[in-house]
Amino acid sequence: MNGKAKSNVSAGVRIKGFLGSKWGQRAVLLILSAIVMAIFEPKFFTGGNWSSILLAIALYGIMACGMLFVILIGCMDLSVGSMAACAGAYLAFNWVNGGYTPQAFLTGLLLGLIAGVIVGLLHGVLVAFLNLPAFVVTLATQYLIYGYVVWYTKGAFIYPTRLNTGGDIFYFIGNQRFLGLAMPVWIFIIVVIITAFILSKTTYGRRLYAVGGSNRAAELVGINTKRHTIIAFIICSLCSSLAGMVLVSMNMVSGCTTAQGYQGDVLMAMMVGGINLAGGEGDISGAVFGALFVGIINNMIILLGIPSDYKDTIQGVIIIAAVAINVYQSRKAAGIISPAKARRIAEKAAKEEAAKSSQ
């Protein structure tokens, strides 16, 4: 009898526990958006729509994987959009001006990746060695890189033409299909696997969590926190470069407006994925789910016919709501209560005490 009652209780508790867990909340969010779309726009569930959603998810996802490293150490990179534009411009410019040869493609690819390494190195050195706040540094480099892209492309857009011969590598990385999935999705899957491997199986990844949890403590146990910070920034910029090149190939156009405002989307992905901004908390599943959710939301905005002007507002509200929930949960888990609530509890206790003593 006892056992039966126990199992009855645990079923309810289990459901409650599932809804309280991160996977439960993610499932609820997905089901809710599916219900909304089923009511208002069944076109959402068609294969054609999902292949375009997957492309968006792949782009946000590649950037989110890089951003994950930076947020895990408690920093922030606001320059991902500009970095993507820069790498995309390198690739497209060299591809077009190099005469559509494989060498030209390789030059562009290498230049884009090298630019990513240099920018990441710059961020890392400024943050790790000069102790500047990461968001100020990356806010500044966001404009710096943007200005550079405008200068490099001379403010014009580059439209690579599609070659009808076999050797169109540029078109290939953004549009080619392989086993039913587009190339960007495959690239995204590879990036996710590498990120998951680094974060969970390598010393560097495990130490990253220690650095994010407490920089000082990590330093005291002998972790080279400066090196870890710099490498995290380099990985982030590299991922943005990659995403930028894929994006340029997907759209077959490059210019200073490429990936403009993507830092907002990526930030939203991180927040919805439950990555703690304070650092040291979050995993690859959060980044992937966040990218998935952002892709779905952006698609919903288009399908529901909401004017694109509202996109910024919706994005801002979602970010705030997601962070507020994250903060609430982590404060609750840590047992932190606000001074007002503490006062209320103390008053209540005092009243009870008074009632008891008067009896």
Partner: protein, 322 residues
């Protein structure tokens, strides 16, 4: 001479050197019309930087300043188009700014969101709202002139000085006084220097932060109202990247990003520096994109320089004490 005075002196010297440099190398830098234009630009950045410096000193940051200016400006233009007198338009913009500043403070104080994320996201919301409230014809955004002589007269000038410059300087002096001579100002510095110890010594942290955010919102409203009056229209690009310029101005003026140091005069000097830089670069024929690069590099150099400056000053103090 203490480190604060030295820092202000450095900002002042930077402004003077830049002015002399542009004055000698370009023509017409010191002409009356150019100076008047330069001061007007400085007043726009400067009024926002003034609010920003209050928030930064209290140990927070406001990345939504551009969005606030955009939304407040659009509301102000709507009021002006409805034929309201100038004072109502300005007060309306200030009120909208105050409400937005209050919302920012709620996000930071009550929901405990990290200030830069909260205000970054809130900035998306405000600039999105501004976009929704811009003038449209058949769904397309148009630059509709604000036909309201009473309102547009606030963009006028006395001699070569625009009204907004006078307002800017008066506001700077008021805020400077508040920062250095009132209890609230002292509490702001205490909170920015060390939040926990300030709270333990009885500083009402939430109230002080809230007031600083509201000041920033109101300043954005004022700056937006004058800019709408001068441009005679409101567009969605009104506050574009203004928070970036305002932060740059604060940093150049010696307002340290981690809070607790700097003052309104520094923000004023920093804004002058920023306005001169873009003005002078335009005279050199350097276009806006390069200016953005310069400003980005400037923020990095200035924050890095400030960190070095603090280190040198600390070392000096330690050497003197030992």
């Amino acid at each position: 001479m203490n480190s604060k005075r030295i820092r202000i002196l450095i900002s002042f010297l930077l402004v003077v050197i830049l002015a002399l440099f542009f004055g000698f190398t370009t023509e017409s830098f010191f002409s009356a019309s150019n100076l008047s234009q330069l001061l007007r630009d400085a007043a726009y950045v400067g009024t926002i930087a003034l609010g920003m410096c209050c928030v930064i000193i209290s140990g927070n940051i406001d990345l939504s300043a551009g969005g606030m200016a955009c939304f407040a400006g659009c509301i102000c233009a709507r009021l002006a188009l409805a034929g309201m007198p100038a004072i109502v338009c300005i007060l309306g913009a200030m009120a909208i700014g105050a409400i937005m500043g209050f919302i920012n403070s709620l996000l930071v104080n009550r929901l405990h969101i990290a200030p830069f994320v909260a205000t970054l996201a809130a900035g998306f919301v405000y600039s999105g709202l501004g976009l929704i409230f811009t003038f449209r014809e058949n769904g397309r955004i148009v630059n509709k002139p604000v036909m309201n002589p009473g309102f547009t007269s606030i963009a006028g000038k006395v001699g070569i000085i625009y009204y907004c410059v006078i307002v800017w300087i008066i506001l700077t002096l008021i805020i400077y006084f508040v920062q250095l001579r009132t209890r609230f100002g002292m509490h702001t510095y205490a909170l920015g220097s060390h939040e926990t110890s300030a709270k333990m010594s009885g500083v009402k942290a939430i109230r002080v932060k809230t007031i600083n955010y509201v000041i920033c919102g109101v300043m954005c409203g004022i700056a937006a109202a004058f800019t709408v009056a001068y441009n005679n229209t409101a567009t969605a690009s009104l506050g574009n990247a203004m928070e970036f310029q305002a932060i740059a101005a604060c940093v150049v003026g010696g307002v340290v990003m981690s809070g607790g140091s700097g003052n309104a005069i520094g923000a004023l000097l920093g804004s002058l520096f920023m306005a001169m830089l873009s003005n002078g670069m335009l005279k050199y024929g350097i276009n806006v994109d390069w200016q953005k690069m310069f400003q980005g590099a400037l923020i990095i150099v200035a924050t890095a320089g400030d960190a070095q400056f603090a280190r040198i000053m600390n070392a000096r103090m330690r050497a003197r004490n030992s």
